[in-house]
Symmetry: C2
Subunit: 369 residues, 2 copies
């Protein structure tokens, strides 16, 4: 659990620590081999995206100069492994164990050890989670909510990779293109002939489970007192996308559980009985929406189509099987792990080029829409 | 993350460490108050099962003697919290995140910090998981497979609470009464009038996904070449229970996933088309069995009833909703956390009375049986 040190002499690897003097750095190897720093990382880690001859040349140069990437050196010299903290807010939402499993699998393949913190119990924050993990880890990957700056301050120069958090000063960041997702879903529903669309957003966790306050969105054509404002970044993307396409979107807000979403969908169908297409904040809540539609005697998708979001395995077990805006969770895990690797080896500068990755959802068509 | 020390002078708390000399121990308080060691623990931790006057008397005596339970002392003196490692083999099986979430919630309520290790990737064992966690934790709770002795050796005198592992030398143990579960499920199916019963067991993880070898169970009345031997403790309980009741049970074995169980169920229905009642190793695999039954045109439960096992939230989202042998996951988490607390405070001796808890499943009737 010592910090990485291979980038010491460059004097600009803000994500790395000072190492032994005179040791060959990644920059020495890059200069001698006539390649970029990133290419050295790829070559030393047998990653794709590099020609075989280039990999061989870089590895030869590295051997000549006595350069060893820090995590190999650590393993050889100290028997220690890179230890990565993984902060997730709620294991009961099946997205998070699926994401975590992907990160752990890919990190394990690199010889890293992952310790996980399921921090959402008892009102703890993402920053507190990082504080707990900090004494034991070389870096953190996490869904931290809004606590990015505080968490990075706790870690100092150790890398922090945050997901789904566009603001703040994390050394690395994985974001999602919700505008693209919204267009794909709304476009698909319109192409199916759906004319009365609804979006069920997740209630802000701050607002608590019992306080789903109605808002007013008269300008979107819903003068009903129960029309609500979108709350999340996903919801905002759907509202913007609908407005841009001239589509009226009935918005409901539900706490993040299948049972709550079932109730909210029931009310939505009472107030907007002609609803024929629903997009739901995530797959777990979409499972509740499917239950409410079945209860109301509506056939899915014939009477009302449903699209979820996340792409977790649950969707395939539902009846009808859930059409969803899917993230490739292996891809998300891989992006987080590769970004962290770049930050640890110094091939990516914290906050610099390549430190933010934007991933897109793919509309996976199953039975529900 | 220093070890607990309140039981030092007793000289027999093998789960506790030597603490500072002359400090009042839990036994001093118990003797002075005229109560058992366990009652002192209950009183000091405001746990139920103790009269108010007794609690007050014990707390008064403790104050006089200057006794403080170790984890409070640690918090006061060092600002450190008890750190508990949680080893689980596979986050993609929804049982484990549900169990882990329960443990984390209840441990957090006690002021403990939990770090989790999802160890099943890349062929790692439960013992390796405990090795990774050991440098950072005061104790471990885990599903370790058969690695109990090795894991306890790694932890030395620090407590280890294992689940679903009847053999080995762990300081604490939570077991499940599968005989009770099997009787409840088979009895319910027989009472429904099911006459052609099947049990789908989980393939041994050692056997790998591709090697579900057929066995021969001619003595149970299945001469077919595809009849198989049960593999797991659950499966053995079902086989014993069926034999005792004179019930013929067709056994199939499936790798632990919904998709695999769907395939195996499809074959089962081809080879035993009159099957009218199926019990499945767990809820996740039962979800696959429901899919196979729907594909085959069978109505559940009218043509064939299905019972799962575990009681995870997934079961309620399926169609039809899954009847299951449910563990109360909050109860399992509470049992693990309270047992560990007793081992940490010294109110329970490792391997002694009260160090093994046996929990029972409850048959939760929903729609599928």
């Amino acid at each position: 659990m010592t910090p990485p040190s291979d980038d010491a002499s460059s004097g600009r690897g803000t994500g790395a620590y000072a190492g032994p003097a005179k040791r060959a750095t990644i920059l020495d190897v890059a200069a001698a081999a006539g390649v970029s720093r990133q290419t050295v990382t790829r070559a030393m880690n047998a990653m794709p995206g590099i020609r075989r001859e280039t990999r061989q040349r870089v590895q030869d140069v590295a051997r000549e100069l006595g350069y060893t990437p820090s995590r190999f050196a650590k393993g050889l010299v100290q028997g220690a492994r890179t230890s990565v903290g993984l902060s997730i807010p709620d294991l009961t939402n099946p997205y998070y164990p699926a994401f975590a499993s992907s990160v752990v699998e890919l990190a394990t393949q690199r010889g890293w050890h992952v310790v996980m913190d399921d921090y959402g119990h008892g009102g703890a924050t993402g920053a507190e989670s990082v504080e707990h993990l900090a004494p034991q880890v070389d870096a953190v990957i996490g869904y931290l909510g809004g606590a990015t700056d505080e968490a990075q301050a706790v870690l100092g120069r150790r890398p922090l990779v945050v997901l789904d958090q566009p603001a703040g000063s994390a050394s690395g960041r994985i974001s999602f293109d919700y505008g693209h997702a919204a267009q794909a879903a709304l476009g698909h529903l319109q192409a199916r002939g759906c004319r009365h669309l609804a979006y069920i957003d997740r209630a802000d966790s701050e607002a608590g489970r019992a306080t789903v306050a109605p808002g007013h969105r008269g300008e979107r054509g819903h003068a009903s007192g129960s029309a609500q404002e979108v709350v999340t970044a996903r919801g905002q993307a759907f509202a913007r996308s609908a407005a841009a396409a001239g589509v009226v979107l009935a918005v409901s807000v539900s706490p993040e559980s299948a049972a709550d979403a079932r109730q909210v969908t029931r009310r939505l169908l009472e107030e907007h009985p002609r609803t024929d297409g629903i997009v739901v904040f995530n797959d777990l809540m979409a499972a509740g929406a499917l239950k409410a539609l079945a209860e109301s005697g509506r056939a899915v998708p014939a009477d009302c189509a449903v699209i979820g979001m996340d792409g977790i395995p649950l969707g395939e077990l539902l009846t009808p099987e859930l059409t969803t805006l899917a993230l490739d969770l292996r891809e998300v895990g891989r992006a987080a792990v590769e970004l962290l690797d770049g930050l640890l080896t110094g091939s990516i500068e914290p906050g610099g080029p390549g430190s933010e990755l934007v991933l897109r959802h793919r509309l996976v068509l199953r039975q529900s829409a």
